[in-house]
């Protein structure tokens, strides 16, 4: 990749301790625009913990997270999203009592500028922006194949659709970097194949960077341009899918001695 460009995400010597236990240490990562990067590793390696630090759900104990060249040390979860990082969750976290389209509209909340008085009085600004948001939300739902379910309650969707809706909601915040935490978990092979196409489409259509955690090796090897391997909270290896597949340390970490 173009090494002279500023990476979207640059992580330097990141680490976190939980009550004396080091969960992640000396983690380094660069993600460039238009890239799909995989983060893999055995269960308990600290992958989701890395995501939680990148989104500031956990405050890192050490290290630096630079987003588009900016240091993010003092930023909160909300500010990280406003800066342009959106994520999905390993255990799906939808707004399950709200309609599918409202789940997506929530993602657009910070793009709406009318205030509460304008909303209560239903002034033209409210009407215009609501119409625009509805249209944009429907467009996103169409991309993720959910447009027919727009008025359903999100919690009643089938599992695969819920995962797709989570991605749609994240995309509604217009991120520069999308973090996907096991997007294919619980999907059947056909759904996984569709998901791979969808992830590629999202990258090409919105021109964003994607960092994903996944256990499904077919998906990871199929769509990621680069892969980082995490083991016991430490970076074990990084490289192209072919390099990772051939790396003896990675094979050892996954299969044991």
């Amino acid at each position: 990749m173009s090494e002279n460009k500023i990476p979207v995400l640059e992580v330097i010597d990141l680490g976190i301790d939980f009550g004396g236990l080091t969960a992640v240490n000396d983690f380094n990562l660069k993600v460039y625009n238009n890239e799909i990067v995989g983060l893999i590793g055995p269960n308990g390696a600290g992958k989701t913990t890395v995501f939680n630090m990148l989104t500031k759900v956990y405050q890192p104990s050490r290290g630096t997270i630079k987003f588009c060249g900016q240091d993010t040390a003092r930023m909160s979860v909300v500010e990280m999203n406003k800066a342009g990082i959106a994520r999905t969750f390993q255990n799906i976290r939808l707004f399950s009592n709200m309609s599918v389209i409202d789940n997506v509209k929530i993602g657009m909340n910070n793009q709406i500028t009318y205030n509460n008085v304008e909303a209560v009085l239903r002034l033209p600004k409210y009407r215009e922006q609501e119409a625009k948001v509805t249209e944009e939300a429907m467009e996103l739902l169409r991309i993720f194949g959910l447009d027919k379910d727009a008025d359903l309650i999100a919690g009643n969707l089938p599992y695969g659709a819920q995962r797709r809706l989570e991605i749609a909601r994240a995309m509604a915040t217009k991120p520069k970097l999308l973090l996907l935490d096991e997007p294919a978990a619980g999907m059947n092979p056909q759904e996984t194949a569709d998901l791979m196409d969808m992830i590629r489409f999202v990258r090409d259509h919105f021109h964003i960077a994607i960092l994903l955690i996944e256990h499904d090796m077919k998906l990871v090897m199929g769509i990621c341009e680069r892969i980082s391997v995490l083991n016991y909270g430490m970076l074990l290896a990084e490289g192209t899918p072919a390099e990772i597949q051939a790396n003896p340390q990675v094979i050892k970490a996954y299969l044991g001695e």
């Binding site: 909160s76 909300v78 994520r87 707004f95 909340n109 509604a172 915040t173």
Partner: protein
């Protein structure tokens, strides 16, 4: 013709259907009651309930925004009503010499009551909304009790020099012509009764408009998102504390408005009327009506206010029956068999409706 059809289609979207039903109930109810009164068919006992019912409905609608839509258990709604009530009484008393028109004074009192209650809502909300679940509930309970017992110790008078305040002991020295408005535990005495049923109904309609328009807006979606999943809401850039605060403050403001109307409906009013029991009573209206269901809140408030009166024939047994009905409603509405039955019934009804719609095409 086409625009006409679109108009009706819009009326029956989920958003507008619930709104339409709740407005219809209030307006039809108002017309029926006005007719009954005009023809002299409404007993004085029912007439005396009209204004309080509108107050309870407004306070309960506000609480439903807080408990149902925002998902935070609030056990202090009576405290905000208390602020509104006594603020309203003071304002109305002070303005009595300036504005002779009772309705205008009432409206001013309601607005001031709502503003003052929302100010307290903000002050209380800043610390309270950091807590979660049952802890938040107990702190709202505590604030409600604190407000009640503070007002129990406040003495307010009004004379040519303006408002006079005194705390714990009555040290008011009012100029000639001045009057005491709040006298500690004795509360407000000699209040001019300017509350009317019509203003109460208008207040309900205003409350419904505010709540519905808020729910179907950016902030309303944010409020529901924070209820459903706080962490996910933050991850899409929603400031949870501010969002919960909005629901809390709007709820407090509506309680304040309801309180002002309530306070101006009685010549005497004691602060202990606004204790924990009233907060609980309003919460019962909300929960029985269905969390987040504004139409349900209106219906359950009316039914539950009327129920003890309708049971009056049974005299001593009425409150026992009331409590048994409360318990049975909760048990039955949570019973799996009853739930499946109700769901089946609803399905049948909607199927019939879609069939009709298909036939119309």
């Amino acid at each position: 013709m086409k625009t006409n059809k679109n108009f009706f289609a819009k009326l029956f979207t989920r958003e507008y259907r619930s709104r339409l039903i709740s407005f219809l109930i209030i307006i039809l109810g108002y017309i029926v009651i006005e007719l009954l009164m005009a023809t002299g068919n409404l007993s004085s006992m029912f007439q005396s309930l009209l204004v309080p019912v509108t107050c309870y409905i407004v306070a309960a609608l506000g609480l439903n925004l807080n408990v149902g839509v925002s998902g935070e258990l609030n056990l202090g709604q009576a405290g905000f009503m208390c602020i509104g009530a006594f603020a309203g009484v003071c304002i109305s008393g002070a303005l009595a010499g300036v504005i002779s028109n009772g309705i205008i004074r009432l409206i001013i009192a309601i607005i001031i009551g709502a503003l003052l209650a929302s100010l307290f809502g903000i002050l209380i909300g800043i610390p309270v909304l950091k807590l979660q679940g049952d802890y938040l509930a107990i702190v709202t309970l505590a604030f409600g009790e604190i407000i009640k017992s503070l007002i129990n110790n406040v003495y307010v008078g009004f004379d040519s020099n303006g408002f006079q305040f005194s705390f714990v002991e009555n040290k008011l020295k009012l100029a000639p012509g001045g009057k005491a408005l709040i006298s500690g535990p004795m509360g407000a005495t000699g209040t001019q009764r300017i509350a009317t049923f019509t203003v109460g109904v208008i207040l309900i309609l205003a409350a419904l408009t505010i709540i519905y328009n808020l729910i179907y807006s950016r902030s309303g979606r944010a409020i529901q998102a924070c209820r459903d999943n706080r962490i996910a809401a933050e991850s899409v850039g929603i400031h949870v504390a501010n969002t919960k605060m909005l629901a809390f403050v709007v709820s407090a403001a509506l309680a304040g408005a309801a309180g002002a109307l309530y306070g101006l409906n009685y010549t005497t009013l004691i602060p202990s009327k606004f204790g924990f029991n009233l907060s609980i009573l309003i919460l019962v209206y909300v929960v029985l009506g269905g969390l987040g269901n504004m139409t349900g809140t209106i219906i359950s408030t009316i039914v539950l206010v009327l129920l003890p009166e309708l049971l009056r024939g049974l005299q001593d047994y009425r409150m026992i029956i009331y409590s048994v009905i409360l318990i049975l409603t909760m048990i039955l509405s949570n019973n799996e068999k009853v739930k499946t039955f109700a769901a089946g019934l609803r399905k049948k009804l909607t199927r019939n409706r879609t069939k009709e719609a298909a036939a119309d095409e």
